[in-house]
């Protein structure tokens, strides 16, 4: 058994990459750096493609595939608690229906996502399926409609296997803020999966489902992706319709995707992206097939990233960032150089201003967006003697601590007399942040940074220290303020847990550059040797 992975080893492994003289890139297999307890070492493969191939060839049935996932889900769920609601019976039924259609030779029976089990973050509305947003106030609420992203997945043949856990209404970074349960990290069940899309990240990491949807307001897809060792994509603001996403901070919210490979993530994005007449802020920019530029490993040139200019954000590697994380990211950077790109350090002067601006803007919008949860039309209503009491009691009982705190902060920031000092000032900072990204992205094709200042931490560690938790969002919030796309791919491990804890590399691009982020991420993922991001949980039988 090799020792737990050390960050410096990663660095070494990258440095030892074969010289560029060789035409084809070959794997560096001499280092035994992958955790031994995991399955199938080697580059991540596309689960969606293999499901599709087995369905088309008749090698496996959808019922068979579904039952595989469901049995794994049932086995792991007691310790993970990724799902608030599991729709296993419905999933089985849908799989059987798909098999019947395939058997009867129905044309188009095998849609692009046929038989693909997806987990949906519980702040995305699903028709006739509970959608709580992780909040007591929506306990038992079943929407009358599917969120656009969910509808598009279903139309492509995907099967919604359940609703994943989250920090209430997306407000939190650990998924401990759920009103219902605490989700654990598949790499170490004493640790958080990150948040707020912790359930979606954990579920994909543990292969409880093939892919999942999350939402990202300040890092809620990217940080849990990093913590759980999966691929997480935060698309450009407006790339995916927000219709059906319970609004937290409307000007920052985006629907994001998780996959166990870049290819799967790209496939999901291709399906859910695009203009929606139900969301006026959704972009009408054309949606390419994001998978079309993902070249398989054996066709890659030795320097596939030749000519790519990468900026590594100075401010993300300084004080307060875990040294293991810094080493992982620096290792990843030098690996990207070996792949042919040029990596320079770049400074974003307004970087540190983003965090406070984010918390003012997000809280302000939240204070408004959450006003609708008043117990009058749906959700919990507390019986009371007068109107103010109905409101007060319904909200006091229905909303959790963190949510109330943010509503209070936001209400304060928007109040007459404080608006200019807080909300307006934060908007000015937002403009600065946008401009500094724009400048940097004129010089560099992509910017890289950690997705979080540390790997997954212990459950309960920051629950009573909101400021420490907020500080953890430093790597991600600026990207939301600027509305940019960012992809997180697992890039290494740091010490911790039984076999080490995954670390994610964040790649940030210009608006609507998801295609090139996914291409770079795919090359990085496919050529990165000796790591397997399949958690140990799956080896325990």
């Amino acid at each position: 058994m090799p020792p737990p992975l050390q960050a410096h080893r990663l660095l070494i492994s990258h440095r030892r990459l074969p010289t560029p003289a060789r035409r084809r890139l070959t794997a560096v297999s001499s280092l035994q750096s992958a955790p031994a307890t995991t399955l199938a070492p080697g580059p991540a493969t596309s689960s969606i493609l293999s499901i599709r191939e087995s369905l088309l060839s008749g090698e496996r049935t959808a019922a068979n595939i579904t039952s595989d996932y469901l049995s794994r889900l049932r086995r792991t769920e007691p310790s993970l608690r990724s799902f608030i609601h599991v729709a296993d019976a419905a999933a089985e039924r849908e799989a059987e229906e798909l098999d019947r259609r395939i058997a009867s030779g129905e044309k188009d029976a095998v849609g692009p996502l046929a038989g693909v089990l997806v987990g949906v973050k519980d702040n995305l509305c699903t028709k006739n399926m509970p959608s709580t947003g992780g909040s007591r106030i929506l306990d038992g609420y079943r929407p009358a409609y599917d969120a656009t992203a969910v509808r598009r997945l279903r139309e492509a043949g995907a099967i919604v296997v359940g609703k994943t856990n989250l920090d209430e209404f997306g407000m939190g970074s650990t998924t401990e803020g759920s009103a219902f349960q605490v989700t654990t990290n598949p790499w170490d069940d004493s640790r958080v999966p990150g948040g707020s899309s912790g359930g979606s990240a954990s579920a994909v990491s543990a292969r409880q489902c093939v892919v999942s949807l999350g939402s990202d307001t300040g890092g809620s897809v990217r940080q849990p992706a990093s913590f759980c060792g999966v691929v997480g994509l935060k698309p450009t603001y407006g790339r995916v319709s927000r219709f059906g996403l319970m609004a937290y901070a409307s000007s920052l919210d985006v629907v994001g995707c998780f996959g166990s490979s870049v290819f799967d993530t790209a496939t999901i994005l291709s399906v859910v992206a695009g203009h929606d007449k139900m969301d006026s802020t959704s972009s009408s920019q054309d949606v390419p097939d994001y998978t079309s530029e993902l070249v398989s490993l054996d066709l890659l040139e030795s320097k596939p990233l030749n000519g790519l200019r990468i900026g590594i954000i100075q401010e993300t590697l300084g004080e307060g960032v875990d040294t293991g994380v810094v080493s992982s990211i620096k290792g990843a950077a030098s690996y990207l150089e070996q792949l042919g790109s040029v990596v320079d350090e770049v400074s974003l002067p307004s970087f540190s201003l983003g965090l406070p601006a984010y918390y003012i803007l997000a809280s302000s919008e939240a204070s408004s967006n959450l006003s609708r949860y008043d117990g009058i039309r749906y959700g919990r209503q507390v019986s009371a003697n007068d109107l103010n009491e109905i409101y007060g009691e319904s909200r006091a009982n229905g909303l959790g601590h963190e949510v109330k705190m943010r509503i209070l902060m936001g209400t304060y920031a928007l109040s007459a007399g404080y608006y200019d000092a807080y909300y307006k000032r934060a908007q000015q900072v937002r403009t600065l942040v946008k401009e500094s990204f724009k400048d940097a992205l004129e010089k560099y094709d992509i910017l890289i940074s950690p997705a979080a200042p540390s790997a997954a931490y212990k459950i309960g560690e920051k629950i009573n220290d909101p400021l420490a938790m907020y500080a953890g969002d430093i790597m991600t919030v600026n990207v939301n303020l600027a509305g940019l796309p960012a992809l997180v791919v697992p890039c290494g491990f740091v010490e911790g847990g039984p076999v080490g804890l995954p670390v994610g590399l964040q790649m940030i691009g210009s608006p609507f550059s998801e295609g090139s982020l996914l291409r770079v991420g795919h090359i990085f993922e496919q050529t990165l040797q000796n790591f397997s991001f399949v958690p140990p949980l799956l080896a325990e039988r």
Binding site: S280, T281, I376, R377
Partner: protein, 546 residues
């Protein structure tokens, strides 16, 4: 909150007993205003646009005794778009509670507003009609407060950048109130959405929410504080009603709440430059009520000033009570209301192009003020002008009649007298009758050229207006052509004289008044068709012939 209470009060009684299946029941005690509202409702007069049926001229010219009133008005106009402002639900006044709702206008989680472009078009139309500057870029904001009829907990409105601002409206006061031209400033016009309604139970133990109206588009028009009397304010409201009806953007119906005026009134000694403390008055359901409510409020405030109790005038909202003809305190304002406005992040900015505005500008109909000036130039009296321009259907009918060559004064007389009386009796609008402008012009021409008499003309008019048809058709069908053949009339005269020897004898003995009797007999014999001038001429000759 108070404003929304009022909205609940305007609910028709028929809806109150109608408990739909889909609304949540509230248990707050909200209903203590209901009684008053219902009484107001019971006595509200039928809308009669022109009509500011005011008491008397003297009432309007109350004794202000060294004080002057400052009046500003906020008007909400409900747009008659096919769908709501931000979703695709229809809106029909009076439909079953919660029958025209969807997840979006009910404020369900995850729903987003999508702007109905027709709302912008209506706003630009009204902005242009009110001579406003149109903002090429404006935006929506959220106005936040909690109330059960406000599903999202905020109203989508426009705060610091309204779509139109700095305009004015021209109007002419009714002749019976002394007449005179006025120009009142318009501060701004902005787009927003309406809230739902609360239906209070009879017992007052619970209330129900009807969200049919939630999300219906409104334009709010804020006037400058330029009005000084109740009649000026009422006429300002009536002019807005005319304009929105001319533009076709709203039915402007006050009873249905499609046009609602909230009035701010303050009083100050003449010569003082700063305003006095203003009081807001709500719950006026007609222009006449606006006039009376304001005049009452002005005298109340002047009275307090004169009694040295000016400090009793406080910032508050008062309700007009139609049954007692007084205003009552509804709620005192506790400091500045904090609506925590901020830009609506779910909607992009509203960006207009000059082409777009030009296009709308070209499609604008002739507006009341322009019509009035044009009619005035035709030589019509102000009374006629105001009558004709008051209702765009009437004005359109009048204009069309003139296009067929009718004389303006004659056409106006027909419309203002017999036609107006008929419309009033039958409770119809002019375009709902069978009479066409072409036939009215034919009728006028037929009288003018002597084909029929004026008296027959009236008969034909009532035939046409009720049953339709053409003037020629009715004349032929009923054989109404005037008898203008002197020989035919002479024959009838001869017969009448021969049949009444006794009266002839008396006439010739000096009782010349009897000519009327003979004329009547001849007219009767002709079934009213004899040309009266010719008849009298021939009759006179015959009677006086020895």
């Amino acid at each position: 909150m108070a404003l929304t209470l009022l909205r609940g009060m305007r609910t028709p009684v028929s809806l109150r007993s109608n408990t739909g299946l889909f609304f949540n029941v509230l248990r707050p005690r909200l209903s203590h205003f209901t009684t008053r509202a219902e009484s107001a409702q019971a006595t509200e007069p039928k809308a009669v646009p022109k009509s500011i049926q005011l008491a008397t001229k003297e009432a309007a010219e109350q004794n202000t005794q060294g004080f002057e009133a400052i009046i500003g008005i906020e008007t909400h106009v409900q747009l008659s778009t096919v769908t709501k402002a931000f979703c695709s639900c229809p809106y029909d006044y009076g439909s079953q509670p919660n029958s025209t709702v969807c997840p979006t206008c009910m404020g369900h989680p995850g729903t987003l507003p999508v702007l109905n472009e027709r709302v912008v078009e209506c706003a630009v139309k009204l902005g242009l009609a009110l001579n406003c500057e149109i903002s090429m870029t404006s935006k929506f904001d959220r106005k936040q407060y909690f109330y059960p009829d406000l599903p999202k907990g905020y109203q989508i409105s426009q705060f610091d950048i309204p779509i139109a601002k700095k305009g004015y409206v021209d109007l002419d006061l009714p002749v019976e109130f002394g007449g005179g031209h006025r120009k009142f400033g318009i501060t701004r016009v902005h787009m927003e959405e309406d809230a739902g309604k609360l239906l209070h139970s009879e017992s007052g133990s619970y209330s129900q929410v009807d969200l049919n109206r939630a999300g219906v588009p409104l334009l709010e028009i804020v006037s400058e504080p330029d009005m000084r009397t109740g009649i000026e304010a009422a006429e300002y409201g009536a002019e807005l009603q005319r304009i929105v009806r001319y533009l076709g953007v709203s039915n402007g119906n006050m009873q249905e709440g499609s046009l609602r005026c909230d009035v701010n009134v303050s009083v100050r000694p003449v010569g003082q430059s700063e305003f006095g403390t203003k009081v807001e008055i709500k719950n006026m359901n007609s222009f006449s009520e606006i006039n009376r409510a304001i005049d009452y409020e002005i005298s109340r405030q002047i009275m307090l000033h004169k009694e040295g109790q000016a400090d009793q005038i406080v910032q508050e909202t008062r309700l007009w009570d139609e049954s007692s003809q007084k205003t009552f305190t509804m709620r005192k304002k506790e400091g500045l209301v904090n609506y925590r406005y901020f830009p609506e992040p779910d909607l992009p900015e509203v960006v207009l192009t000059t082409d777009y505005i030009d296009e709308i500008s070209k499609s604008m109909p002739e507006l009341p003020e322009a019509k009035r000036r044009r009619y005035e130039n035709m030589g019509l009296s102000m009374q006629d002008v105001l009558f004709l321009a008051n209702d765009d259907n009437v004005a359109h009918f009048f204009d069309s009649t003139l296009e067929y060559g009718a004389d303006a004064k004659l056409a106006c007389n027909w419309i203002m007298s017999d036609i107006a009386a008929y419309l009033k009796n039958e409770k119809l609008s002019i375009h709902e009758t069978k009479l066409t402008p072409l036939e009215l012009s034919e009728l006028i021409a037929s009288i003018k050229n002597g084909t029929i008499s004026g008296k027959i003309g009236k008969e034909i008019l009532f035939e046409l207006i009720a049953k339709g048809g053409t003037v020629k058709g009715v004349i032929e069908e009923k054989d109404l052509v005037q008898i203008a053949d002197p020989a035919a009339i002479e024959a009838m005269v001869d017969k009448v004289i021969a049949d009444n020897p006794k009266q002839l004898e008396e006439y010739r003995a000096g009782k010349t008044k009897l000519q009327g009797f003979f004329a009547g007999q001849v007219m009767k014999a002709s079934k009213g068709k004899a040309n009266p001038v010719l008849l009298n001429k021939i009759l006179g000759e015959k009677l006086n012939a020895k």
